[in-house]
């Protein structure tokens, strides 16, 4: 093993600052792309920050590092926050974020593994990330017998309407995939409206528990809570863990927060400028304090 913990130890405040920077990048790239999803990526900023800047073992200079942890984004439409996290980690230059969704770009509208080193899976059609993550985790646990590496999967909450997710949930529980950590971005919105109107998810904690999972429910916009949840998840080795991360869709942009209309559209250039200014001031105020 070349480096058991390649992550620099960062403070909560540093991580919150990074999450804010990722949000700025998301708004900027979406406005430049002129299409794409806003609410989910903004709400997921802390989850991606905690994984890419604190919890995951990975090496942006060596994307195929054999000892790396695996990250699979299942709700591929939230690609902007993944691209932001990867660029800020050092997988590719920040300037490349401006190419999002453009012809010839490595930053495809939905993530394509073959186009960008560091991506572990192709996603977009929903409900397929958990089973791919479970397949990888199965290999690590039962075939390669490697207890060091973990597999992280992020799903949306609307996404788990898909039956494929629950097929994967049963599989992961049956095979005791304690090395699999899934997040559900519980923001209560999907394209057509509230998740509870479109197809009620109800007691998510109860559902996953009944499927045999170790379930944690946290404030998904709280960096400290997420770090703690990941540590607890890794400590439970006989079952997979799902972290139900309650997030605010559009988090950080008050005009967007909680409004499902922002699920699938980008800010205008003007909106992006204004909102980036607010986000930048917020982080500067924090730095001053």
């Amino acid at each position: 093993m070349t480096d058991p913990q390649p992550q620099k130890p960062r403070t909560i405040e540093e991580l919150e600052g990074i999450a804010n920077e990722l949000r700025v990048s998301v708004l900027d790239m979406l406005a430049k792309a002129g299409s794409g999803h806003s609410a989910g990526p903004l709400g997921m900023a802390e989850i991606l920050t905690v994984l890419y800047f604190r919890c995951m073992r990975h090496d942006p200079k060596d994307p195929d590092w054999p000892d790396r942890d695996i990250f699979m984004l299942s709700n591929g439409h939230t690609a902007p926050i993944l691209y932001a996290a990867m660029a800020h980690s050092g997988y590719f230059p920040l300037s490349e974020l401006d190419t999002l969704r453009r012809f010839g770009s490595r930053l495809q509208g939905h993530p394509e593994r073959r186009s960008l080193p560091g991506l572990e899976n192709t996603s977009g059609p929903l409900g397929e990330g958990l089973s791919q993550g479970a397949g990888y985790a199965y290999v690590l646990r039962h075939l390669d017998r490697n207890p060091q590496r973990f597999v992280y999967v992020v799903m949306g909450d609307g996404e788990i309407d898909e039956g494929n997710v629950w097929e994967a949930a049963m599989f992961a529980a049956k095979y005791h995939l304690g090395n699999l950590v899934a997040f559900v971005d519980r923001n209560f919105i999907q394209i057509d409206g509230s998740t509870e109107d479109v197809m009620p998810l109800g007691d998510l904690t109860g559902k996953w528990r009944t499927f045999g999972w170790h379930v944690l429910e946290v404030d998904g916009n709280n960096v400290g809570a997420l770090i703690e949840a990941v540590a607890l998840a890794k400590a439970v080795t006989d079952r997979p863990t799902v972290i139900i991360a309650n997030t605010v869709p559009g988090k950080g942009v008050k005009y967007m927060e909680y409004d499902y209309a922002w699920h699938g559209k980008p800010p205008t250039a003007q909106q992006a400028r204004e909102w980036i200014a607010v986000l930048t001031n917020t982080s500067m105020e924090k730095e001053d304090a």
């Binding site: 409900g127 397929e128 791919q132 599989f171 095979y175």
Partner: protein, 331 residues
Amino acid sequence: MTSYPLDPDTYDAAVRREPIRMGFGRGLLEAGRQDGSVVALCADLAESTQMGLFARAFPERFIEVGIAEQNLVTVAAGMARAGKTPFTSSYAAFSPGRCWEQIKTTACINEQPVKIIGSHAGLITGPDGATHQMLEDIALMRVMPGMIVICPGDSIEAEKATLAIAKNGLPSYLRVARDATPIFSTPESPFDIGRAYVLREGTDITLIGTGTLTYQLLIAAHILEGRGIAAEVVHAPTIKPLDEETILASVAKTGAAVSAEEGQVAGGLGGAVAELLCEKLPAPLLRLGVNDRYGESGTPGELMETFGLTGDQLAVRTAEFLQRPSASRRV
């Protein structure tokens, strides 16, 4: 002279018969012996699909996913990303029947070498009826960029095809069938992915078959010979990529073609041959198989008869086709 060695009993009533899926079972076992990265995933049909042989030999590399075909192929894609060569098996009606998009996204766009084994394909699934007689799988898989599509003619060839896809590093579809069907090839007969083979030479018409229908075409050609028609039989176990060179060379010689398959001709082998000939060598073509309808319960024999796909019927239909002024250069 064709160099393809046929089983000496091919034209005899005593021809040896074996389910094509048995060849897959043996091939997978051998692939497992040769390569420790081969894993096998099944959706509650391990014995039916002949994966049981592998499961008993390598229990630690056999993964039961339950009745969940979407999960079957996506878990396999994740395992492929982790460095394994996953074989998945179910009835073709369910995989790829149910999980087409999962295969497209997580195996093909994602470039992972997932192997899809569709067992119990075609009409000879028999009494189970229309829902279980997968006739659309060739069309479904052929249209998918990055997918290899193989439909072996008998169990010996299925064994070779299984070993070949274990090594090709690509998403691959292997179509196999339930009931015992005649064995026309031999252990020495060639098999390479992407190659078609001239099993029997002739100058009057090219008969192009895949899967179980190749044997029926051999019988048809044998019957036609008695009527003074020299039919060339081309066996195309790989439907994608199609061996254009072999097919074009044959049709250039004979001037007309008949395709035969145990499935929908639309998008199937018939579709592939029609596309090829239209673009590169326009020639009269008769596509035999299933034409825009579903199957029904019955014995394999009854169904093949109903759809006009026995050797006798193929001979009659070919002779009738050659009567058409446009189809024959002999007239």
